[in-house]
Symmetry: C2
Subunit: 221 residues, 2 copies
């Protein structure tokens, strides 16, 4: 599959949103970065720095604009952000959920899973007419769009209920972002396994002193 | 460090306990397998099949016997098993905690963490005079004592509060079991990150059709 250029909404103005939105523009896509308020400074600066394909607006503006949507908001507030983006604006669309809901208050980063449910699942439940694909949430924003920084040896996972959506996202990961191995973990409940990698991520970050690491699954041939 | 032979208690008679106990005997250690009752059939059969270095008894018998203790019980009942082994029999000793507390009732394997605390932490809290080291819990029992089945490329983690204990366990993992890379993730709270790998483990098992896989952390040089 060779991907055509698209209009893409990126929700969130942090390191993750900026890294993904910038890469998407570099690839020739039209990207609108969404945030809580229309005059968000980070979003305005990003749009100003990234040429005519880059624009910014509210969550709603970005969701209306995008044919597909990246959720790069803080996972603790993602459901609120997506609700303010508007159910109708997300209907039928792929939501690529990169977010993590992490509580740092105890000192040990804790993934929030009300009733055992991952953020990816909760988004899919709240937006049943959208196609949620969980991915990228367990690597540094620096590797998300450039895994080749490590020599391209690391694996990425996807999970979600819609096969076509996972297929498109897999193509985006491979053709646009440079991932070589993308493993389909199954339905959206597998987002639990992906979000629960975050505590290990933080321990390894502390331990290695760098955020430039990833995981390779070695399977018996 | 070259390890001397030891007396070792292995709590639990399942696949994990059998694999570890058998390997330890093969290496020339005296091993007592412990279970709830003295006449446990699996333990009796194991002892009968493994020669004069192998014996069996209650959790208490095995804990009294061992200079170090492997907890290979079902994590949902590990605290009960260790309590019945006796506080005084575990005092001052290393408890190598290989167990996972997993609830399968929802269909999606769910790691049980009351108040956010891992099994490893809860054991350390219940036995403050023992030295708990969490390890091995996120690979198949077949790989625990023979990671070379995959070519030896995969990583093992340890966590725990006592550095000397982690050092000894690291030597056991390397010299006896054949692990090449053992990464110290820090204090026992890191057992959370290790236990939370279990949902991913089950998804990959389902996905790949084999339990012969492990993780390699690729770090930017």
């Amino acid at each position: 599959m060779s991907l055509r250029k698209m209009r893409i909404g990126v929700l969130g103005t942090g390191e993750v949103g900026q890294a993904i939105a910038t890469k998407l523009v570099e690839l020739g896509n039209e990207v609108r970065m969404g945030s809580r308020s229309r005059d968000n400074e980070a979003a305005r600066n990003w749009a100003r720095s990234n040429g005519s394909l880059a624009s910014h607006g509210t969550f709603r503006d970005a969701a209306e604009f995008g044919e597909i949507i990246f959720n790069c908001t803080n996972g603790l507030y993602s459901l609120d952000a997506l609700k303010s983006a508007g159910y109708e604006n997300l209907k039928g669309k792929i939501i690529i959920d990169v977010a993590n809901a992490v509580d740092f208050s105890s000192g040990e980063p804790t993934v929030i899973m009300p009733e055992g449910k991952s953020l990816g699942e909760r988004i899919q439940e709240a937006f049943p007419e959208s196609k949620v694909v969980k991915t990228l949430n367990f690597v540094s924003y620096r590797l998300m769009v450039n895994p080749g920084l490590l020599g391209g040896e690391i694996d990425m996972f996807v999970s979600g209920n819609n096969k076509d959506a996972k297929q498109l996202v897999t193509s985006i990961l491979k053709e646009w972002f440079g991932w070589r191995t993308v493993v389909d973990l199954g339905d959206i409940r597998a987002a639990r396994a992906m979000e629960l990698l975050v505590p290990l991520w933080f321990r390894l970050w502390e331990n290695t002193g760098t955020d430039l690491f990833g995981f390779k699954v070695i399977i018996k041939k």
